[in-house]
Amino acid sequence: MTIDLLTQPVGVSHYLVVGAVLFVSGAVAMATKRNAIGVLMGIELVLNGANLNFVAFGSSYLRGGSQGGVGLDGQLIAMFVIVLAAAEAAVALAIALNFYNNHATVDVDQGDELKG
């Protein structure tokens, strides 16, 4: 199957595989990184994996020219995601900075005041 993927013309599945790898990398990064900014980067990666899927589903080109899938909505949603992610990064960064102001570190494991 893998060999097939390498030699076949590129289709939606190819993009989905790449998207899956990015998504999982991002998700694991979110789980393992202790640095708040590292977690943020994980989120970016997850969003990108999802974006890749949207674009792939929306691309008529990857379907051999036939219409179908989500059409332009794929690109439109990708656009929304990118713009929102940029704003989200700014907000998350502000939170990280504030966290840093209060804790003098960006280690998220230190933010445990609310723990019983």
Binding site: D4, L6, T7, Q8, P9, V10, G11, S13, Y15, L16, V17, V18, V21, L22, V24, S25, A27, V28, A31, T32, K33, R34, N35, I37, L40, M41, G42, E44, N48, N51, L52, V55, G58, S59, Y61, L62, G64, G65, S66, G71, L72, G74, Q75, L76, M79, F80, I82, V83, L84, A86, A90, V91, L93, A94, A96, L97, N98, A104, V106, D107
Partner: protein, 215 residues
């Protein structure tokens, strides 16, 4: 396979895909925050290459501009502001890594299975020996799509269905207002309050936050 056609499209797809995946994993494994940012940039850049290959030029350029150009610079900015030691490292425990690896592996398995199991998503039998360089107009349809005119739905016979795609103008505006509020909030949040340092010993330390009286 008899149609083992690695055409140029496949070639560049494989190249970009490899770069994107490699650096995504590298970012995951790196413990140096600046290198992580750097790997993330390369990964995102390669993803934008994938967008171009999928015929989504506008989204690809948007990705380069906003994601790679903007977001990551902001990230690096944050890194520099918050890194006390020049090259900050924070180690994650082995147990946590193991757990994450197991969960991540399972997730990947499920996703791959999903990606490869639907026939409709499988590679088209024939893209053509030499797919043309994509020079379709992507910006205009997207703009029209936001306004509710869907050029890709024109084949739809049912006009109500065609126009039923009422566009994204309202959501777009709502989101942009929302983002404005959020960004102002972020700017406020990032400000900090601090006490001017007490004079300590011989050092004169009355820090004036003003820059200077001149223009």
């Amino acid at each position: 396979m008899e149609t083992a056609a690695i055409n140029w499209h496949s070639f560049f797809f494989l190249l970009f895909a490899l770069v994107a995946c490699t650096f995504a994993v590298a970012m995951l494994l790196s413990s140096n925050i600046v290198r992580m940012a750097f790997y993330l940039v390369i990964s995102l850049g390669a993803v934008s290459g994938l967008f171009f290959l999928a015929g989504a030029d506008f989204v690809g350029a948007l990705q380069l501009m906003i994601y790679v150009g903007g977001t990551v610079v902001v990230l690096i900015f944050g890194v520099m502001l918050t890194a006390r030691a020049p090259f900050l490292r924070m180690r994650t425990g082995v147990a946590q890594w193991a757990l994450a690896a197991i969960v991540g592996g399972c997730l990947l398995a499920v996703l791959l299975q999903a990606a490869l199991s639907v026939d409709e998503w499988a590679p088209p039998s024939m893209v053509g020996e030499n797919p043309p360089v994509s020079n379709t107009y992507t910006a205009a349809p997207l703009g029209l799509g936001v306004l509710g005119v869907r050029v890709d739905q024109l084949d739809e016979e049912d006009a109500t269905l065609r126009n039923g795609m009422s566009g994204y103008l309202l959501p777009f505006e709502i989101v942009s207002i929302h983002l404005l509020v959020v960004l102002i909030g972020a700017a406020y949040l990032a400000r900090t309050k601090r006490r001017p340092k007490e004079p300590t010993g011989d050092r004169q330390e009355t820090v004036e936050p003003m820059i200077s009286s001149g223009k």
